[in-house]
Amino acid sequence: EDIKEFRIGILGGENAQDRLNSNECLRAKTADLLGVETKLFAPADYNGVIQGLLGGTIDMAWLGASGYAKTFLSDPEAVEPILVKVNNDGGYGYYSIGFARKDSGIDSLEAMKGKVFGFGDPNSTSGFLIPSIEIPQATGATMTSGDYFGEVKFTGGHEQTIVAVYNGDIDGGVTWADGLGEWEDGFNSGALRKAVDAGLVDMNELVQIWKSKPIPEGPVVLRKSLPEDVKLKMTGLMASLKSMDEECAYGVLQGDAKGFMPITHEAYEVIVEARKLKSN
């Protein structure tokens, strides 16, 4: 069967219009390749794209690992991972970074005991899923408010976590970073770097209190029920994006990266298990 249009979902982190704009070239290429009308959608949160994939109203998206796991758990037949972003250093991982204000005297998880701790979005891998599993392993206590931390909150997203810690609304929080480069710059890329670039925070005021094991970058997924040739064409297009059009790849990959490489569901089984664990 043929498709009449192709719909690409884009996840947040940047101004909606900027996101649409940096993916505009991808839209044009897709439309050329598939010969059908192609549209971009940039809902406000992870859930919007996930619902779209589940409901069959979005055909391709670049999800976070946790978001992929959620999709998989809701309906294993909905989507399949095809590609993952590869960093300049050849890896495809990043880190969840725990941080606090320097002047609060907190410099480690131990010092956070009894303090207020903030996660980002519940569907974020680095902002919630991984830390919510690895931090209890480190502290030996659960993440329930009052158990180890005085209170555990969701701030809503990486940006909000950073601002909340910086303002002192919460004592410590987690966000993502590539773990490369200098702390003072907020690493080479990630939410901290963006905040620094925006002049929102001064990294001199912050300290790192925790760092996760590497987290796999989220996959680019396609809806399983798409026709095979569409899947093949789109996989090819995404994989060769960097070599075809550097400028476009920069926008789509949200920065400098080596490109995409193929990946399968197996790479995310750990995350799926982790997520299952967190469901009550």
Binding site: F41, N47, I58, K70, L73, D121, N123, A164, N167, K278
Partner: protein, 291 residues
């Protein structure tokens, strides 16, 4: 007699012309409306990720998923109710406090912007524009800005809702004021009462039942608004609902419990307040006005 039929003939012609004109106007208006609706629908349908017709059969997928899990874990619901009750109280408090503060501000603003009552009659247009602007700002805008400045929690939501409420109620209140009699005010003026005395004694007693009725209606609306603001980080039950909802499978039982709590609250408040409003405006025509 011929003259008479001629008269009737003229009347007939006039009326037919009138009817034709009216029919044409009706037709044009109807056509414009239908065209707007149809083209609007088509644009929206086109801009949407999924189409209307193709998505229709999936309408119940999501409720089914949520209900499925909720039914499966129905025994956890009472525990969830207890767990989320404090958040519900917070949501109600946000609505209550903001309605109260908003209504007080609206009272002053409306008195200042009603002819015959205004403290500074020349400033009436200024206060009116202020109310228009306060009314036009969606709560979420103020809430988001305030969350940025002072962090999450109930206060930004309270301020945001109170701000909007002041504008919305201010307009309704000033309509009420306009129907109030100025005679008592003049009577009080003649004894040398100052402005606040004239307002407290001369106006407020006349208008308070209507004020109260509108404020109650607003309270209903504000409960919903404060739940919504929870979605953007302003605390209360909306925050819990958003977290449970967006986590998805695995926490849908929580989502269902929160939803039931919220829904029950809205219904209860709605019924209680409409009962009181009926009593307050008993006999008068109660013009229900939108948010």
């Amino acid at each position: 007699m011929a003259d008479l039929t001629g008269g009737v003939g003229a009347l007939r012609a006039d009326y037919m012309a009138l009817t034709r004109r009216k029919r044409m106007m009706d037709g044009i208006i109807l056509a414009i409306f239908v065209a707007l609706m149809v083209s609007g629908f088509m644009i929206a349908d086109d801009r949407n990720a999924g189409g209307f017709w193709s998505g229709l059969h999936r309408l119940f997928d999501f409720p089914k998923e949520v209900l499925g899990e909720a039914v499966e874990k129905v025994d956890t619901l009472p525990a969830h109710f207890v767990k989320f009750f404090p958040s519900l109280v917070e949501t109600i408090n946000i609505a209550g406090a903001s309605t109260l503060i908003g209504a007080l501000a609206a009272m002053v603003l409306s008195l200042l912007s009603t002819r015959g009552m205004a403290r500074w009659p020349r400033m009436i247009p200024v206060f009116r524009r202020i109310m228009d602007i306060m009314r036009a700002v969606p709560e979420i805008v103020i809430a988001l800005v305030l969350i940025f400045v002072m962090g999450g929690g109930p206060v930004p939501a309270m301020i945001a809702i109170a701000f909007h409420t002041a504008g919305a109620l201010g307009k309704l209140f000033s309509e009420v004021n306009e129907n109030a009699s100025l005679k008592p005010v003049e009577g009080l003026q003649s004894v040398g009462a100052n402005w606040s005395q004239r307002m407290i004694l001369g106006v407020i007693p006349q208008v308070s039942p209507n004020y109260l009725s509108y404020a109650l209606l607003r309270f209903e609306i504000n409960i919903r608004a404060s739940a919504i603001l929870g979605f953007v980080g302003a605390g209360g039950i909306g925050y819990e609902l958003k977290n449970a909802m967006s986590w998805g499978k695995g926490q849908y039982d929580e989502a269902a419990a929160i939803f039931l709590l919220l829904f029950a609250t809205i219904i209860v408040v709605d019924q209680v307040s409409s009962h009181f409003r009926d009593r307050l405006t008993h006999g008068k025509t109660d013009r229900k006005v939108a948010a």
